[in-house]
Amino acid sequence: MVKLIAAAIGAIFCAALLWGAVQPRDAVVPDLVKKYYQHAEPAGFSFDNPIVGKFDRAQLQRGFQVYKEVCSGCHSLNRVAFRTLTDIGFSAAEVKAIAKQYDIPSLDAAGEPTTRKGLPSDNFYGPYANDDAARAANNNALPPDLSLIGKSREGGANYVHALLIGYKETPPKDWTTPDGLYFNVHFHSLNIAMPPPLNPDQVTYVDGTKATVDQMAKDVAAFLMWTAEPKLEERRRTGVGAVIFLIILTGLAYLSYARVWQSVKAKKTQV
């Protein structure tokens, strides 16, 4: 009886599915976005290797400079505290000086809103008071907070790098980019509201590196990977230790397993 009911239920499900499977499908409209969209190419970062890759401190500092001098005009970095900049090689005094350049909203003794100088314990603040102000200043597009951008897009740092160098002056003939938007083959909809932010020699690197667009894009992408995953090096270091420990432990466990079972295996073959 159970089997008959089951067979009946099964037959109904199968019929419903097969009926759906034989329905004609809508003709596929050629999707121009799919045609022109390009996945980010690997840019070759010092931290690419998932086990031993490390950040390049000098690169992170250059990337920070690009962020500060270019991107911070539109993008916030709200999840990053100034104090953590010591991790990328700035001294405590330098961090203090960097923090001081930011005005942080606060209240004065009378309870009136005012601003004070930033402290190392503060997070990055600005450039806009809120999302509405950000949209108003950017053609109604919201420049996302960049703290987690290295992990919130497929491709991570490679994506950020590719996006920044992916602008094309003239879109293909069959593609229209409305005014106020820019054609970029790496952006999911191909039309991005961010104007090409980088121009050659836009920043002057203190370490003398030549500031090509590609170089700046790579540096800021590396920096934004660090802001997204500040514990990356600590994680990999811990991981190497943990895995080596576990391999040794597993080896010992195997030896004791083989030893314990020796007698059983031997008896089996004797009988």
Binding site: K3, I9, C14, L17, R25, R79, R235, R236, T250
Partner: protein, 446 residues
């Protein structure tokens, strides 16, 4: 229970004697995980995954309790509190990555454990209740994992919660009301987050309770084994300790090594990038996908694309998705072949591997956007899913001629050792039926 030759606990020290005569916990441990529990000696490595799943549950509970000390279940700050754990809490990143990856590994262990049970017929008498309890654990896990994923309050959390609770709105008449009741509002919000956190903290302990029942039910008949035949004598078994404690410890080492490699080197490989964007009710992600362990069922949900028999497609999908899981509860009464192990069932063995490939295909379809060819593939794969359990297995269990079974586990072990690679038996097919395990149950004349 247990076999007559099981060793009996004898307290060695005066202290143990004292404890044992007042609260016999040492005896309980001895009889369930110690030398007092005889286990078939021919278990292969697939039998490690029960213990591994148990360890995975414990890892989830421990890391989860620590995370809960720093997490804030409030829609305004939940996402920030997770980032606070990642950046400011000492070792917080490790706890979170272990917990997130641990959920995936828990499912990997449980899926292998379930497939092991399917292949060797571990759901058959006298282990039906054991199987049913296992399915209850599976359901609890799925609910817990889903709610845990929502707690992050990223884009996928929010939209996943919207889609999954939206399934209930497909029910006629009461659907919308049920959805609102589940969410505590018309869309996922603070009320949803709070109740999900409450339940996410509760259910693992419920799961632990059911795991205890599951292990208890296991100890009544004892473990099944790759031959599927019953234990006949002491020669067929070894005591759990030290034999299987040693083997499980080795298996655990391998498991933890792989687990650690993923946690420390590829912690985000199993997750969705969109969940690093804070939840935004005003912006729908391009592809809403659940975590990988739900993909086969998600594929079944989306495979129903046309109204049929006056039932709307969406409702079909919801019914089918739940049916796909619930039908497993009836498996012991659908597959009634008295031969447990597929090693001795030539046709069921083929069906098993087709089913295995089918699940993989469904999983792939479930992770893809709802476009061709994935939709049609998932429709065909879903057909096999239901046909396998509801039609093929019931029929096979009546018409199939099983291979002859060995007389005992020891004999099977010996044969495998002496002529490795030789066919299972040179006897006439069906000759072994007479030596069928005494399951206390003849082939039902349905």
């Amino acid at each position: 229970m247990s076999f007559p030759w099981a060793k009996h606990y004898e307290p060695k020290s005066g202290f143990m004697k004292y404890v044992d005569s007042r609260l016999p916990i040492p005896r309980l441990v001895y009889n369930s995980l110690g030398a007092g529990y005889p286990v078939p000696k021919n278990l292969n490595y697939f039998y490690n995954f029960g213990v591994l799943a148990g360890v995975a549950l414990v890892i989830q509970i421990i890391t989860g309790i620590v995370l809960a000390m720093h997490y804030a279940a409030n829609a305004k700050i939940a996402f920030d509190s997770v980032e606070h754990i990642m950046r400011d809490v000492n070792g917080g990143w490790m706890m979170r990555y272990m917990h997130a990856t641990g959920a995936s590994f828990f499912f990997i262990a449980v899926y292998i454990h379930i497939f092991r049970g399917l292949y060797y017929g571990s759901y058959k008498p006298p282990r039906e209740v054991l199987w049913l309890l296992g399915l209850v654990i599976f359901l609890l896990m799925m609910a817990t994992a889903f709610m845990g994923y929502v707690l992050v309050w990223g884009q996928m959390s929010f939209w996943g919660a919207t889609v999954i609770t939206g399934l209930f709105s497909a029910l006629p008449l009461v659907g919308e009301t049920i959805q609102t009741w589940l969410l505590g509002g018309f869309a996922p919000d603070n009320a949803t987050l709070n109740r999900f956190f409450s339940l996410h903290y509760l259910l693992p302990f419920v799961t632990l309770g059911v795991v205890i029942l599951h292990v208890w039910a296991l100890h009544i008949p004892g473990s099944n084994n790759p031959t599927g035949i019953d234990v006949k004598s002491e020669a067929d078994t070894v005591p759990f300790h030290p034999y299987y404690t040693a083997k499980d410890f080795f298996g655990l080492g391998v498991y933890l090594t792989i687990f650690a490699a993923v946690v420390f080197f590829w912690p985000n490989a199993l997750g969705e990038v969109d969940n690093y964007i804070p939840a935004n009710p005003l912006s729908t992600p391009a592809h809403i996908v659940p975590e990988w362990y739900f993909w086969p069922f998600y594929a079944i949900l989306r495979a129903f694309t046309v109204d049929f028999l006056f039932i709307p497609a969406k409702l079909w999908g919801v019914i089918a998705m739940f049916a796909a899981i619930l039908l497993l509860f009836f498996l012991p009464w659908l597959d009634t072949s008295p031969v447990r192990s597929n090693n001795y069932r030539p046709m069921a063995k083929i069906a098993f591997w087709v089913f295995f490939a089918d699940i993989i295909l469904l999983a792939i379809c479930g992770g893809k956007p709802a476009e061709e060819p994935w939709v049609r593939l998932s429709q065909l794969a879903s057909v096999y899913y239901f046909a396998h359990f509801l039609i093929i297995l019931p029929i096979l269990s009546r018409i199939e001629r099983p291979l002859p079974l060995p007389n005992s586990i020891s004999e099977a072990v010996l044969k495998r050792q002496t002529n490795v690679g030789a066919p299972a038996s040179q006897q006439l097919p069906g000759a072994g039926i007479a030596e069928m395990p005494a399951t206390g149950r003849a082939q039902p004349a349905e």
